[in-house]
């Protein structure tokens, strides 16, 4: 899949760019070079509809002079000089940030499990076999169930980061992803569920998400009518249901820049209790095999596992080099330094601060789903929401919709609800009465969270 010399070519291209930077006597420069290759299959209407392969990539150049930075990106190495000139001209009109310098080279311990050689040899035929197996599995789990959408894909990304400060980092990571939309369309009633799984390692066979998807398409059939309108009741958010909301609201709230600018609902609360005292939140970029793990961040700084909330108290935040220098120079915070939390969306943009693998844990004994429902007594289970992206990361407020919701009474599931509104404030909901399940799964990108029972703070409005 990935050419044997992919890294060599990126290194060679980066060297050409760095040579130009040196000739131009640029104070500091940093070059990111990325190249991805992969195969993917689309599934529609119960069959494989398309097979695709290929890849893309390019270079990004950040230059820094007297605390002013400029950036440009390119695909053709022949246009490097032009791109560097553009970056320099942007730097010259940019405001200077006191104390902003590119990070120097530091030792970084390797994070394991981010590369699986087996993925490199996965070809379209292997993916087709896996897709066939998934399609068959769905139909064997329920003869009415059909994979109406989704797909499978493998990819490998070669990356090289080079800087004037001696950083020369290179590596290859791999990914295998599977997602299925399973529908049951019978008696003029269509129910469906989307579930996915992603891994840095080869996913052998059929992942659990396939059976889960069939299960939820079945569970949500024949909805019951709930009278009484909107009610504040306990809700179990499954990992899959909570992941997207958690990722939009919580991962924004712990960025140092947002905290210092008073743009987070946890601004001004450093050292204070912000969530239930048994809960902790860790940003762990060094998790073996973690979806967002890496040994160095997007600026080449060694990554870390950082406790953000310890036993309910806000004790940390996420910073990149520029954000920390900028907020200190603006007087928004007395002291800040990079936490190795810079990430890149690709070669087309400079690094920005973001979370890696976010882990929500509790000091209390975890609960299985039956224990969560017993504790809940009456309430709902929500397995997916629509409109998580409309949540307000500044206030923590959200108002979303779900068609994947079950009603619970006296600790027992009594049926599904066709559609319901779900609203609340994530910050307030996490403050008390939060109980965690015993099965941590990755959802919402890189949120490592179990099913979570919220005893208060959520309102359900059945249609």
């Amino acid at each position: 899949m990935l050419p044997d010399d992919a890294l060599d070519r990126l290194i060679s291209g980066s060297k050409k760019i760095s040579d130009i930077c040196k000739v131009k006597n640029i104070q500091q420069w940093e070059i990111i070079a990325l190249q991805s290759y992969g195969h993917e299959l689309d599934i529609e209407a119960g069959k494989i509809s398309l097979a695709a392969g290929g890849g893309g990539g390019g270079y990004g150049i950040r230059v820094l002079e007297d605390g002013k930075f400029g950036y440009a990106y390119l695909a053709d190495i022949g246009s490097a000089e032009n791109a560097i000139n553009q970056a320099i001209s942007i730097a010259r009109v940019s405001p200077s940030v006191d104390g902003f310098v590119l990070p120097s080279s530091q030792e970084a311990k390797q994070v394991e499990g981010l590369f699986d050689k087996r993925i490199l040899s996965v070809g379209p035929d292997d993916l087709i076999q896996q897709a066939d197996a998934i399609i068959s599995e769905v139909s064997s789990l329920d003869s009415r169930a059909v994979v109406t959408g989704g797909g499978l894909g493998v990819s490998a990304t070669a990356g090289v980061l080079t800087s004037s400060e001696g950083i020369e980092h290179q590596g290859i990571t791999t990914t295998h992803g599977i997602g299925v939309q399973v529908s049951i369309d019978e008696n003029s009633q269509l129910t469906s569920s989307w579930q996915g799984e992603s891994s840095k390692k080869l996913i052998d066979g059929i992942p659990k998400c396939v059976a889960n998807s069939v299960d939820w398409a079945k569970k949500t059939r024949d909805p019951i009518k709930i009278e009484g309108g909107a009610q504040d009741l306990p809700v179990v958010m499954t990992s899959e249901g909570l992941g997207s909301l958690f990722s939009i609201v919580v991962s924004s709230a712990i960025k140092g820049q947002r905290l210092a600018r008073m743009e987070s609902f946890w601004s001004g609360k450093a050292g204070q209790s912000v969530i239930a005292s048994d809960l902790s939140l860790t940003d762990n970029a060094r998790m073996n095999g973690g979806i967002s793990s890496s040994s160095r961040d997007g600026e080449g700084v060694p990554t870390r596992s950082q406790v953000i909330i310890d036993s309910g108290k806000l004790v940390g935040s996420l910073w990149s080099t520029r954000d920390s220098a900028k907020l200190v120079s603006e007087g928004k915070i007395d002291h800040a330094e990079t936490t190795g939390s810079a990430s890149r969306g690709g070669h087309q943009s400079p690094p920005v601060t973001s979370c890696s693998n976010l882990e929500l844990t509790s000091s209390l004994k975890p609960n299985n789903i039956h224990q969560l429902l017993d504790r809940m007594e009456t309430g709902y289970i929500v397995n997916s929401v629509m409109g998580a992206h409309t949540a307000n990361p500044t206030s923590g407020d959200f108002s979303v919709t779900t068609s994947s919701i079950l009603r619970v009474e006296e600790g027992e599931i009594i049926g599904s609800v066709k559609q319901a509104g779900l609203s609340g404030n994530m910050s307030k909901a996490l403050q008390s009465g939060v109980f965690l399940g015993d099965d941590v799964r990755v959802s919402g990108g890189s949120m490592y969270i179990p099913d979570v029972l919220f005893m208060q703070g959520l309102r359900v409005n059945p249609a």
């Binding site: 695909a75 087709i128 959408g149 409309t390």
Partner: protein, 480 residues
Amino acid sequence: MVIAKAPGDVSFDNGRRYLDQEKIQSALDKATEFGAEYAEVRLVSITDSSVSTRDGQLERAIPGQEVGATMRILADGAWGVHSTTDISSIPLQVEGTVKLARAVASRRGIKDKPVSLAEVPIIEDSIHWNPKKDVRNTELSEKLEHLKVLHDNSSDDSKIASVICGWHDEHIHTEFMSSEGMNRVWSFQRSLVNATVTARDGSDVVSYRTRHGGEGGLELIEACDLSELGNSAKISAIRLLKAERSPSGKLPLVADRDLTGVYIHEALGHPCEADLVAAGDSCLDGKLGQKIGNEIVTVVDDPTIRGGYGAHPIDDEGLDTKEKCLIKNGILTDYLNHRESAQHFGIEPNAGARAQDGLHHPLVRMSNTLIRGGTHNDIDELIEDIEYGVYACGSRGGQVDTGRGSFQFAAQEAWLIENGSITTPLKDVSVSGLTLQILKDVDGLTTDSRLAAPGFCGKGQTVPVGDGGPIMRIKEALVG
């Protein structure tokens, strides 16, 4: 690797081509020799520039260029696709891509129909929607001047905590060649400014987002009253500080044209996409020709509306774009389609194929989607007989489950309607419903229909879209 040789002159609308036509023609011929029914190569070059300021200071400016190409081959009634930034490698990938398609075809069940394509006119030409002012010639200093106007007018109040302003422009150049003899080149530009205004009062923090832009060059930005755009966003943000939480329940809803656009995009547009219908993932399957909405509802999707953010002259299968009437007086009259889905349903192809860029294959997508105007003269006429309801404005986005036909969208700000008057400001209002019910519940539209603020639509790939319509009244919607 990563070698996308530019023609060497960025003002390429002078006839220069990225694709070596002889080599690509030879590759397409080779695909046919291997037994392919159809093959195409589509190259897209995007030259773009993004600028953002925070509190009036330049935060970042990013110029760049991307070139990518996708080869699609239909063999034995199935698709194989190869995408690359290494344009010169395309001819080497023909055999492998044909094999990919055949591997997919070999898995087809007895009951499954092989893919075939609706016939379309074969055209060789170049179409360039030239802007009045080529945005590529705009200096960074000029962009910053425009953003300064936006910033200054959105920040001059003590309650405004921060203002982030953004600029994005892009020049899109596409080359398309097919084994059928299609050989087309087209280009156009998009320009956009936006601002996110955050207001704070004690521990209350709210944000309001505004956007202006569309298909076109610098003239679009120059024509916009950025001081008014900024001032209006500031007023909205400050108003949100005092807004109350929304009531929950089924209530009459009046939506401004921004939300009307998002509503019709989510509730109807996506379920109308014929690839989803064919996949069994649309609540509109089998409903062509049936009445699905109130007779006052007429909906079009029209990529030819110049200036709309979803405007484009040619779709990504090389077809001339045109207006598509999806609902006429409440009756579902058409699906948005591409050649494959048009053939599947035996309907006329209507040029609905769009891809995010040169590295993605085309899907059925919306462009500029509008509800046509109705008969009410203004909002006063729409709300005069509402005792208790919600007037919702501005979009924070939406989402749809096309199969179940349920959707959700969120408003930026809203007001209570009490006894025919707009009263208390509300915040965090979201609306949800079921497509097949709520289209029937639209019971009032003002006369003036036009596109609202530009937006983006995600379906695995992100494309710019324009949505809009008149001010709309829905008899009852689930508000939360």
